[in-house]
Amino acid sequence: MNLFDFCYGLIHWLVDLINNIWYRLGDWLPWWFGDFFTGVGDFARSHGHIAVMAILLEVLIIIIIALINVLNFIWLDRKFMGRMFDFYGPYYVGYRIGGWLQNLADGIKLFVKEIITPAKADKLGFLLAPIIYVGSSFLALATIPLGRQFYIGTNADPLSTGVEASALIAFAFFAIAPFSILIAGWSSNNKYTLIGGMRSAAQMMSYEIPMLLTVASVFLMAGSFGFMGIVDAQHDIWFGIPLFIGLVTFIICLAAEVEIQPFDLPEAEAELVEGWTTEYCGMRFGLFMMTGYLRGYIGGALATALFLGGWHGPAFLPDPIWFLIKAYIVFVLIEWARWSLPRVRVDQILNIGWKRLLPMAILNLMIAVLLKTAGWF
């Protein structure tokens, strides 16, 4: 039973439950009114309607899981950072669960804050930037399956592979973010945000290439553009083992794409105040921040699916749990490096991207080609 099947069954059951009352209501009413009622009920019970509802429910489930994970990530990040820095981290809000509720408290605080748009800002761009940023990230999220049967699908076939080329789609959506950052930086009408936006564009575009080259090696090995095919191909051996260079390159590129510490130049606190988010406040900033962690989650999930065998693991835990555990490990590793390293400079980050990571990615691709032609995969 896959997620679609489950949702379909749930919606079907719910519709039947409601229809039970609905039809009886129709029986009591005059015939011309009762016919209308039964017509509506029949429409609700039709396959197309229930399938659409089921897909919406699937999306909702995936989003809720993602948001809970984002809260977990923020908490984990702060707590882990705190212990590494020799302090407690979140402590009092939600004392019994390790200060987990601190994030919710921060979220509420951001919700009730006033949203200020600078007087000389480009209003439309200023409003659109967070929407594009959040929307593109959620779209990338939608394509990632959490388990063999746990994905946003459209049929109940247990052997279905979901969306064809879902990995390509995920990377396409993942790469929209610099566009919105550039819009945010430009429309804020502030020199810091402008420089931050420009840096972001330069950085993300230069890191997109090595990242996609490593991903191409994975596609090559798996012979598929979809996550299902890629993860299924890793049943015997994770791609992270033969393509270790690719894994390293991918994680470094991921850190740059998600803009975390050694590569967080666009929002460099010391010289650019807060970079492209300087002028944002209230929940708009909250969205940016939340989406930053969401992108961290997506990045971890991508690395898991592409290199770490996805949901494959010993059978005592269900698929999604294995998937999330691996994603968390990748995230914690990135965070660990994040809090241990200073920030690199803008010329250095481009140097690293073009002079180190691109050759590594090409080398990785060559290894993949060799392995594939040798017939080992």
Binding site: M84, D86, Y88, W336, A337
Partner: protein, 303 residues
């Protein structure tokens, strides 16, 4: 002493810093606890020398106001009080909102009556509440608990009202630090004790027939205080300075030969003049401020 630059190897890209932070993580999460002091629940240990809120010993304080004079921020003031035991007194209050906790008032106090406690949580909702009057500062027992750092010495102190100028103390002193100085227009002399050389042998106290000399504990002073200069020609003998003096260092003595002849031929009361026992003077300048005839000069003291 030119150092060679250590170029970190490839492990320095990310592994070595991560090992360092990982060690700290293990130390503060698995082996022990973080270094943080959870402030409202745990409180930092403060040393006894910490300069927090003031406390005032009413019995020790003589109300000289030296603390008010030395305060760099003018945050202290004198308040007149009526105390059941001590009578009419003057004691200082402190405005914590302006105080910069420099500790000069504590250092300058001649009787070590004012102290700092380790209390530092003084924030309040209104500025008026930060003005701590003497009654709120009062803690007569604090000075006993406090470990005194300033050295004190038992020294003979003169009560001029009892002195008869018999000069026995000067004769008894083995160190020859007591000199009899004649007082102008009074016809008597007063023993002046060079306290810096005194060895506290108490011989002068024992020999004094009128018990005018008494051993008292005097604290060492770190500051050179201004000394009052008395101008006899301007003195009217009103006695305001003697009343104002917090250290009882000024005595009004009669000047023989200045009696007014009254109408009936009898002699009236003689004119008085102020006599300063400078060993007891704390340099507060109250006499200078009290004198309306400018018979007392104190350079460097504001009127």
């Amino acid at each position: 002493m030119a150092q060679k630059r250590k170029i970190p190897g490839s492990g320095g890209i990310v592994i070595r810093p991560m090992i360092r932070t990982g060690k700290q993580f293990v130390n503060s999460f698995i082996k022990g606890k973080p270094n943080t002091i959870l402030y409202p629940y745990q409180i930092l240990d403060l040393p006894p020398t910490y300069r927090g809120k003031h406390t005032l010993d009413f019995n020790r304080c003589i109300g000289c106001g030296n603390c008010i004079q030395i305060c760099p921020n003018d945050c202290m003031w004198m308040e007149k009080l009526e105390d059941p035991e001590l009578g009419k007194i003057e004691r200082p209050g402190v405005d914590m909102g302006r105080c910069l906790f420099c500790g000069l008032c504590v250092e300058v106090c001649p009787t070590v009556a004012i102290h700092h406690t380790v209390e530092f949580e003084l924030a309040d909702y209104k500025r008026d509440k930060l003005r701590y009057g003497p009654k709120e500062l009062r803690d007569d027992k604090f000075a006993d608990k406090f470990k005194e750092e300033r050295t004190k010495q038992r020294l003979p102190v003169l009560d001029m009202s009892k002195c008869t100028s018999c000069e026995k103390c000067a004769g008894a002193c083995p160190e020859m630090v007591i000199a009899m100085m004649p007082i102008e227009n009074v016809g008597r002399s007063k023993p002046e004790i060079n306290l810096a050389k005194c060895t506290s042998c108490e011989k002068c106290v024992i020999v004094c027939p009128e018990k005018a000399l008494e051993m008292k504990e005097i604290y060492e002073s770190y500051f050179e205080m201004p000394e009052p200069k008395f101008l006899l020609k301007d003195c009217t003998g009103c006695g305001a300075c003697a009343k104002a003096c917090p250290a009882d260092a000024i005595y009004m003595l009669e000047m023989p030969g200045t009696e007014k002849i009254l109408k009936d031929g009898k002699k009236g009361k003689p004119k008085k003049r102020a006599v300063f026992v400078l060993e007891k003077c704390v340099g507060c300048g109250k006499c200078f401020r009290a004198c309306k005839f400018e018979a007392i000069e104190m350079p460097g003291v504001r009127k």
